[in-house]
């Protein structure tokens, strides 16, 4: 997928001016956040499970090669195939080859962020294969020619009336005056349309919430059941997964499952949790004839052993973005690439390079709520700060900021000069604040006064008053 992270500052202006988006994001705050809180409260061992999840993933990342090779051996044993892909280009080509070998015209797709990362849909279409998204949210944004704005609720930015508009345009087979106001009506229509896609598809592509080394299983969690139809009905099932999705055992998978849905939607379990093990065996009533796993690296292995390794513990629950005040203000598209919110602000510079994504780690107040709700205990604020340090080292930090910091640092270590300076500034602002006690503008602080006043200082500094003998 093409990135617009480099135009982040323009993106946020567009987002903040979009009233539909503002409305959608408000519902997210009351929905996801409240439901997660209830689910977590109901599970007394939630914190202990988070610790266990963190330890599990740390262990996996230390032994990634071993578990991935074990996984591959198990997949081969079950008659499937694992394709190791270094980058998106390799992964796209591999998927296309599989489609061509199956003589596929249409592919159905379950929800997959790796597919977004690969830019798979556009590539397939360019090469004569029609991809049909079957997750309702993904289907809606496919009709609207958009990308997901949230990793578990891809169409969270779209409101009901806009869905109806998209459906009326895309489904001319139905009566033009049909009612499409109720969610049920929209759902029924989507289900009806997608039913024929499921039955006609040659290849089904899904993502994977986990890969299990001991069994060679891939796991998806969904709430619509579309993933099951996607992977069971076509002749070929392709699983798209990034390599950090691996866990050692079924037991470990159950640990992650206990954390995942609670953190994501506040459910104890998602409606469907599906384990896939290779192609159909003799005697199986259903299942695909071929089973392929695309194992995508795309820069992740470069993060191992760095300050950013902990990011690879992420299980894509979206709790961080659901609770992020910045995401809550601008939504997902403004971030400019596949992954928005705090996890995206850490991961995107890791996968795309810091130069084009330099704004993302800075666009955070470091309020720490993301870390507080992360079930994998990923220290997201710390890693945002690590990126800021890399920017400073590489001189990507704006000159004015660098100069300002140098100036501040010089004075802050020279208390005598510092006292002199603060005394002057406090007096000056006090005078400028005048009778009303606050300033509307001040040359140097445009970012501050653009949106708020400056409360004027009381007059003399505390240190000044203390030094002259004043006491409470």
């Amino acid at each position: 997928m093409d990135s617009t992270t480099h135009t982040f500052k323009d993106n946020i202006k567009v987002a903040l001016a979009n009233e539909t988006l503002v409305h959608s994001l408000e519902t997210m705050k009351t929905g996801f956040r409240a439901r997660r809180a209830v689910a977590v409260d109901r599970l007394p061992e939630f914190d202990a499970l988070c610790d266990a999840g963190r330890d599990l993933k740390n262990h996996v990342l230390e032994n990634l090669d071993f578990y991935l090779e074990t996984f591959e051996a198990k997949v081969l044993e079950s008659g499937g195939k694992v394709h190791w892909c270094r980058d998106s280009e390799e992964a796209r080509k591999t998927v296309l080859e599989i489609c061509r070998a199956a003589d596929a015209k249409t592919v159905t797709k379950g929800k997959s962020m790796i597919s977004e990362e690969m830019g798979l849909n556009d590539y397939l279409e360019e090469n004569g294969v029609t991809p049909v998204e079957t997750d309702l949210g993904e289907y809606i944004i496919q009709l609207r020619h958009e990308h997901p704005s949230h990793i578990i609720a891809p169409a969270i930015h779209v409101r009901k009336f806009q869905v109806a508009e998209a459906f009326r345009k895309a489904h001319p087979q139905y009566a033009a005056d049909r009612p499409l106001e109720e969610p049920r009506e929209l759902l029924d229509e989507a289900r009806d349309v997608l039913r024929s896609s499921f039955l006609g598809a040659d290849v089904g592509i899904t993502g994977a919430n986990m890969l299990i080394a001991e069994t060679g299983s891939t796991v998806i969690v969904t709430n619509e059941g579309n993933g099951d139809l996607t992977q069971l009905l076509p002749r070929v099932h392709v699983v798209l997964a990034s390599l950090e999705k691996i866990v050692p055992t079924l037991e470990d998978a159950s640990l992650v499952l206990r954390l995942l849905a609670r953190s994501a939607t506040g459910q104890e379990m998602s409606s469907y949790t599906t384990f896939s093990n290779g192609p159909r065996r003799p005697g199986d009533p259903d299942g695909p004839e071929e089973f392929h796993v695309i194992l995508l690296d795309n820069g992740r292995s470069n993060m191992i052993g760095t300050d950013f390794q902990d990011m690879l513990r992420c299980i894509r629950c979206a709790a961080c973005m659901n609770h992020c005040p910045v995401y809550g203000a601008i939504g997902g598209h403004a971030y400019g690439w596949v992954y928005p919110g705090p996890m995206g602000a850490v991961l995107t510079p890791g996968l795309l390079g810091l130069e084009g994504a330099a704004d993302l780690p800075n666009a955070s107040s470091l309020c720490g709520r993301c870390e507080a709700v992360c079930p994998m205990r990923i220290p997201l604020p710390k890693m945002l700060r690590h990126w800021r340090e890399k920017e400073f080292e590489r001189h990507l930090t704006p000159k004015g900021t660098r100069w300002g910091l140098g100036f501040w640092s010089f004075f802050a270590r020279r208390p005598g000069l510092y006292r002199l300076g603060t005394r002057v500034v406090a007096r000056m602002l006090r005078i400028l604040g005048g009778k009303q006690g606050h300033l509307k503008e001040l040359g140097l602080s445009n970012g501050w006064t653009a949106v708020r006043d400056i409360p004027a200082p009381e007059g003399r500094t505390f240190m000044d008053r203390w030094a002259s003998g004043e006491r409470p």
Binding site: L16, A363, K435
Partner: protein, 262 residues
């Protein structure tokens, strides 16, 4: 509970750079509370800033230099107390890792971290003191500032202390744990996003019916007060220690002449 020197714990008071410049009353109120709680308070004259501007901007070397300065200034005290969750979060949670590779300061950073406290947490968690003798006639709401809340676990302490203030009614915000949008340089680098956040904060504060918003970090309060002024709302904004020390009779943050004494 800690044990103290016979004549009360010797506390080095860290005013913090923002309160020093903008709100000396916060310093006098905090010191007044510490003294009522039996502390011997000193204000070391070489103190400046905790280093967060550099630390959060990625200027690690400058942040380290500043941390060393703070350690040298305060390490001689039994305790270090500041009226700020974010500055004490910096000292407690970040200095040790920031100076972990500095043989001359690694251990000293850990020691300082262990004896540095945000004022409300110090009064309650260390001194177990809540003998507040103050009156504030009005309805207030409370903003839990991020670092204090999430790095230092400050949530019940202000409420326990405010419950002792005569005449005060506390009405909770709908989303008390939501960031106000200050975030240090964040608020000037991304004013549009910060604006949305602080607008929400001020709006939800108004919705409680409270006439005053209290909090524990002067910087966040400047942001909230500045927005309330820009929106021309009657909301008063004060540091919580002003109310607890009975020193909330002067003008609130961003308010003018009426009542200004100096």
């Amino acid at each position: 509970m800690a044990t103290f020197s016979a004549d009360g714990p010797r506390v080095g008071f860290f005013i913090t750079c923002v309160a020093d410049l903008f709100r000396p009353t916060v310093g006098f109120a905090a010191i007044s509370l510490l003294q009522k709680a039996g502390c011997r308070v000193e204000v070391p004259q070489t103190q400046t800033c905790c280093g967060q501007p550099a630390y959060n901007s990625g200027a690690r070397a400058m942040a380290q230099a500043q941390a060393r300065h703070v350690i040298e200034t305060f390490e001689g005290f039994e305790y270090v107390v500041a009226p700020s969750g974010s500055c004490m979060g910096m000292v407690r949670e970040h200095y040790p890792s920031l100076l972990a590779d500095d043989p001359a300061f690694a251990e000293r950073a850990k020691v300082l971290a262990g004896k540095s406290h945000e004022i409300l947490s110090f009064l309650i968690d260390v001194l177990d003191w809540d003998d507040v003798d103050a009156r504030f006639d009005g309805v207030v709401t409370y903003h839990d500032t991020c670092s204090g809340l999430r790095e230092l676990g400050i949530k019940d302490q202000p409420r326990r202390l405010l419950a002792k203030v005569k005449g005060l009614e506390l009405r909770e915000l709908a989303a008390p744990e939501e960031c106000c949008g200050f975030g240090g340089t964040f608020c000037v680098k991304y004013p549009e996003i910060s604006n949305r956040m602080v607008t929400d904060k001020v709006t939800t504060a108004q919705a409680t019916g409270a006439t005053t918003l209290l909090g524990g970090d002067t910087s966040c309060l400047l942001n909230i007060a500045g927005k309330a002024k820009r929106m021309e709302l009657p909301l008063k904004v004060r540091h919580v220690v002003e109310v607890l020390a009975g020193m909330a009779d002067g003008p609130a943050l961003g308010d003018g002449e009426d009542g200004i004494k100096r």
